[in-house]
């Protein structure tokens, strides 16, 4: 089971959009995929029309009162399930802190799902916290959306430095430019400089596009409601890059132009 997380210390950088679209494409490619919406804002749960409620909340999950698989909901799309957000996730740090091995709880919870899923995507809340440390210990690849600004560059460096100081296995990091606006010189300059100087930056960038914002209106991933759009193509390219980098194999129907109808 491969575990990916979309993560950034900053908020509003396109984490949920990436998690929703990439998880959808993974499911459409035939991988049994689970998306865990860890963000109490519950944007991914909203897009998939699933109520942001988990019986027992964060405490119930972490202290083992409620098994993770009992909270999983099927989405409208074959191959993709969702573990919805819950408002109590805002206090997840407190629940984690009271557990044994507080930095390894999310990895422990996901362990039993290995027989059922090929891929898990974690849509993470912004911040550096105990939740973040759990995620860094659980994932195989950390996907980091970066808006090409000076502050984002600095935040990315802080994150990579933080990961280098981690004990044990460290995740592979794949950053990608998000909300890229090529009309802005600053965006172009920073994107070129970072891509040239950092090996962990994907060649695919996700531009700022209205269609991505419309996911919340259509309440569906972009490749589902606008399969031939440029935005859908970009997410497909990013998914292809992630697949190659993580050594995933098998047929990839998501590479076609056709949308994956619910069903």
């Amino acid at each position: 089971m491969k575990i990916f997380a979309t993560y950034n210390i900053k908020g509003g950088v396109g984490k949920t959009s990436a998690a929703v679209n990439l998880a959808y494409l993974a499911g459409a490619a035939g991988h049994r995929t689970l998306l865990w919406d860890l963000d109490p804002q519950a944007a991914a749960s909203y897009v998939f029309r699933v109520k942001p409620r988990v019986k027992g909340g964060a405490k119930g999950l972490i202290h083992g009162a409620r098994p993770l698989d009992g909270a999983i909901k099927g989405t409208d799309f074959d191959g993709l399930d969702l573990l919805p957000a819950d408002f109590t996730y805002r206090n997840m740090d407190l629940a984690l802190d009271k557990a044994k091995r507080p930095r390894r709880q999310i990895a422990r919870l996901l362990g039993p799902l290995a027989a059922e899923y090929d891929i898990v995507f974690l849509d993470c809340p912004p911040s550096i916290s105990l939740v973040s440390e759990n995620i860094l210990h659980a994932v195989s690849t950390l996907l980091v959306p970066i808006i090409p600004t000076t502050l984002s560059e600095r935040t990315f460096d802080q994150l990579t430095a933080f990961i280098e100081r981690l004990d044990g296995d460290r995740p592979d990091v794949l950053a990608f430019f998000s909300m890229l606006d090529r009309r802005k010189r600053l965006h172009r300059d920073i994107a070129e400089r970072l891509a040239a100087s950092r090996p962990a930056v994907a060649t695919t960038a996700i531009p700022a596009m209205t269609l991505v914002e419309q996911m919340a209106v259509h309440r569906a991933p972009v490749p589902a409601f606008a399969p031939r759009s440029a935005a859908a193509q970009r997410y497909r390219a990013l998914w292809a890059e992630l697949r190659t980098r993580s050594g995933l194999t098998g047929p990839d129907p998501a590479a076609s132009l056709n949308g994956h109808a619910p069903g």
Partner: protein, 540 residues
């Protein structure tokens, strides 16, 4: 990915094309219904010849409606297990040949080396609907099947509705099922379309079971009837062997032939005079005909596991051996198929059937001439085979920590053990099932050990023969060099084969050292007591 609950099914009383509207009306108080697709679809249900999917509680269906077709695995209750597109498939097919993915993995774990065969087909209009809650979220899916043509059964199935919950929405699905049941016109059904088709055609999914023997039946008639069933088994499996569907058909064919030969040897005197003499030689010919391909199948099926045992060499070093085995199998299969298509095989089965039928149909002779009844014969022959096995095993002597008993003694002991095993299988239905299972299990421990010894010896001999043949086949210069490995590759292969021989020799030594202990366990288990035959053997 698994749905976690019940998938209610309904038979639709009036299949007049208004069902989608009636469903929508029935669910309207709580749910909206949207149609996804409506198209003509062919459905093919698949299982192995011995119904392994059915035994595992699974149903496999190929849907030929869109392009590509789709292969869908569900539980017998309709819960989704796995699905994947299937660009092209010709049945029968081995699960290992399907596209990589969770579905193939699951099928391989259940079906193993057995091919998937079409067991039923239906063609008709399939309408797919989604049931939405107030958020517009899909909470259940509906398949509306209007199968106009179905085989087996060759009859139109009544239209059916299958309601499948989306994971986490069982409560909503149950509510939808209650609304449908209350609306009228939708009759809950406890059987899937597949189960209905099989039942209407009188098919009983599951491994073939022979007719149970009755202790009071004259043994001659009972033997003849069971031997007739074995003739059917041989004939059916031979057809699949000719088509090379999967390797188990040849195995099952060989088991049936071995059973026939054992009955002729161990109880043939009960059959009419001259009967055994007329057929024993021909069934030996049939058994021998099948041996080379079966030996090669065993080598090839276990090739990956064998290669994984290498320590100094690598599995790649053995690839020329695999190629050699493949070439030999093709050659030997041609000979086997020729034999199974020959007049000799056809005549053997025809004459065999005719004479057995004659025995079955012949009026029962007077009591004395009728011979023993089946229960008496079984007790006598099982007891005799058991005594012979015990006598042979006792002669081995205790394990002394040396090389163990000589190979010839172990081969003789194995033969006696096999005779007892065949008798237990043949007359098994006369005994209480739990007692029979225990008796077979007691014997199996000893047989597995002796079988391990024998297999290791046969495999070592095989490897030596292949090595000689591979060396002899390599042209000194010119010739068909492209088809043969060069000197360095051949040397690496031979060294790897040498390593395998050493590992097999160690296996054989281990088995040899264990035999005496296993025999003592078997002798102490009291097989005749287990079967309730102890009194008879004491009197004997």
């Amino acid at each position: 990915m698994l749905a976690t609950g019940r998938c209610p099914e309904f038979v639709i009383e009036t299949g007049d094309g208004t069902a989608p509207d009636r469903i929508a009306a029935a669910l309207a108080p709580r749910f909206a219904v949207v149609q996804e697709t409506r198209r003509r679809e062919r459905q093919v249900w698949l299982d192995t010849f011995d119904w392994r999917l059915h035994a595992a509680g699974l149903e496999l269906r190929q849907l030929n409606g869109g392009l590509p077709s789709e292969l869908v695995l569900t539980t017998v209750a309709g819960e989704p297990v796995a699905a994947q597109p299937l660009p092209a498939a010709r049945w029968p097919a081995l699960p290992g040949g399907l596209p990589a993915g969770p579905l193939r993995d699951r099928l391989l774990s259940v079906a193993g080396v057995r091919a998937l065969l079409p067991q039923a087909r239906a063609e008709g209009t399939m309408t797919r609907l989604r049931v939405l809650d107030g958020e517009g979220k899909t909470v259940a899916r509906i398949e509306l099947q209007d199968a106009v043509l179905a085989t087996p059964g060759a009859a139109a199935l009544p239209p059916r509705l299958v309601l499948t919950p989306v994971r986490g929405y069982q409560g909503a699905t149950d509510r939808a099922a209650r609304l449908l049941a209350a609306a009228g016109g939708f009759v809950p059904s406890s059987r899937s379309a597949y189960q209905t088709m099989l039942a209407s055609a009188g098919h009983q999914p599951g491994p073939a079971k022979g007719a149970a023997l009755a202790a009071a039946t004259p043994a001659r008639a009972a033997l003849a009837a069971t031997l007739l069933e074995l003739a059917d088994t041989i004939e059916v499996n031979a057809q699949y062997v000719i088509r090379d569907v999967d390797t188990e058909f040849l195995h099952d064919l060989r088991v049936a032939v071995r059973r026939v030969r054992s009955v002729l040897k161990l109880a043939g005197d009960v059959l009419p005079p001259g009967f055994t003499g007329r057929f024993a030689g021909e069934f030996k010919w049939l058994g021998d005909l099948t041996t080379p391909v079966r030996d090669l199948d065993v080598h090839l099926d276990g090739f990956g596991a064998t290669a994984a045992r290498l320590a100094a060499a690598t599995p790649a070093d053995l690839e020329p051996l695999r190629a050699e085995l493949g070439r030999r199998r093709r050659t030997e299969r041609t000979r086997l198929v020729r034999g199974l298509r020959s007049a000799r095989f056809t005549s053997l089965l025809a004459a065999w059937r005719a004479e057995l039928q004659d025995v079955v149909n012949r009026p029962a002779p007077r009591r004395r001439a009728a011979g023993p009844d089946t229960g008496t014969l079984a007790a006598e022959r099982i007891s005799r085979a058991y005594r012979r096995l015990i006598k042979r095993g006792a002669a081995l002597g205790p394990a002394t920590g040396g090389d163990g008993p000589p190979a010839a003694d172990l081969h003789a002991l194995r033969k006696r053990g096999k005779e007892l095993r065949y008798l237990l299988e043949f007359f098994g239905s006369l005994y209480e099932p739990a007692a029979l299972r225990r008796a077979v299990k007691d014997l199996k421990g000893l047989q597995d050990c002796l079988g391990g010894f024998q297999d290791a010896e046969v495999q070592q001999d095989g490897i030596r023969q292949f090595a000689t043949a591979m060396l002899a086949a390599r042209p000194a210069s010119g010739g068909d060099r492209a088809a043969r490995p060069d000197a360095a590759v051949l040397a690496a292969t031979l060294l790897a084969m040498g390593e395998l021989t050493a590992a097999l020799h160690a296996d054989q030594a281990r088995a040899r050292a264990e035999v005496s202990g296993r025999f003592a366990e078997f002798a102490g288990a009291g097989l005749l007591r287990t079967l309730g035959l102890a009194g008879r053997v004491d009197r004997a």
